[in-house]
Symmetry: C2
Subunit: 240 residues, 2 copies
Amino acid sequence: MIAMRYKLYYWPEIQGRGEFVRLALEDAGADYVDVARRPNGVAAMTRMLESRRPGVAPFAPPVLQVGREVIAQTANILLFLGSRLKLAPRSEFGRLRVHQLQLTIADWLTEVHDTHHPIGSGLCYEDQRPEAKRRAADFTRNRLPKYLGYFERTLERGSGGYLLCRTCTYADLSLFQMIAGLRYAFPLAMKRLARRSPLLLALHGRVAARPRIAAYLASPRRIAFNPHGIFRRYAELDSG
Amino acid sequence: MIAMRYKLYYWPEIQGRGEFVRLALEDAGADYVDVARRPNGVAAMTRMLESRRPGVAPFAPPVLQVGREVIAQTANILLFLGSRLKLAPRSEFGRLRVHQLQLTIADWLTEVHDTHHPIGSGLCYEDQRPEAKRRAADFTRNRLPKYLGYFERTLERGSGGYLLCRTCTYADLSLFQMIAGLRYAFPLAMKRLARRSPLLLALHGRVAARPRIAAYLASPRRIAFNPHGIFRRYAELDSG
């Protein structure tokens, strides 16, 4: 197979869902362009989203273009890249296992988003603050420990440092991003829950230390967490 | 390949996410057991969910068991069944297209669920009614037309009656279920939006008329919509 240049289309000022794709491309050392971060890049993204090419149009970014093919939905892009970039097992059931974990991470991420947008994604945070406080309290009390516990147990079973034992997959990279984002958004809740999640914290450190990921995180390509992304730090939503 | 008996594990009293799997199995005429609907079936499901078998444990039902393999996450199960049951194209990019559509349906379904549970899935509806009214109003005004418009345009492009033109895939079966559920839960909003969705309504009828689906819908295997499922009819959440 000829090495392809991948084109990623995603909002240029946030990590958001695009970050899960960026981490896979970066860890594999893939040749890619982050289209919307170049001059006039957002206009290029809008044109691509609105173009009437054959095939299935994306509902929303992120979108990955490979030659003439266009793939959308974060977990679907990772399913594709997992095979191409050796970030998933080769066997059918192995690939399904990684994808299952990724889809659970996707559900978790949506719940994180909804802590600050429980009423409508088109409204701003300030217009749904009381509801956000209630939802975030339920999240940090019930859902966050449930997800952390699930992934901690999955790491326990694998007992090789990564979700599927010793090989790093795109789901491990995504889990790193979840831990990083949750520590940014909910520092108190995460500090309280950390002692029950030693393997998750070790995974976070292990991924951060992978040479290409370490170089990426130290580069200007890594956008900082900020108040416009999915992971947001609002003190009133956190709880120790 | 030897014909396998599939075991589906899902809550026995609701359609829920399990229904998307049931529709695929039924349309293909697959040999399957709906484990939790048999005597002591819920106990069997609990045992399976809590068993410490090797591999990746499910986070939640639905779960499909095939021989010794266990697959969870609705879209992941359908990705697997799509290949086995000829409910997806054979080509890699064709399979990714169907999966992309399925993941967009999954996002949509989560938003439907959150109209009646915007604060916490562990709380009952009565404990989050004011928030549910606000979220449902945003859903019927903004999100529902957006999703309907997206799938209507996708059907327009394909112009063969199904999402990927002339062949019915698991995403078409799931889209049928979305339309059926939305008409049950939001009859007024759907009546208002129907005139802009003629191809979606035609798809709903086309799937309902497929011989095995028609037989299934008329059988006791099809659980009726009810106030415990994802699609719930609360008049105060609907809007004409």
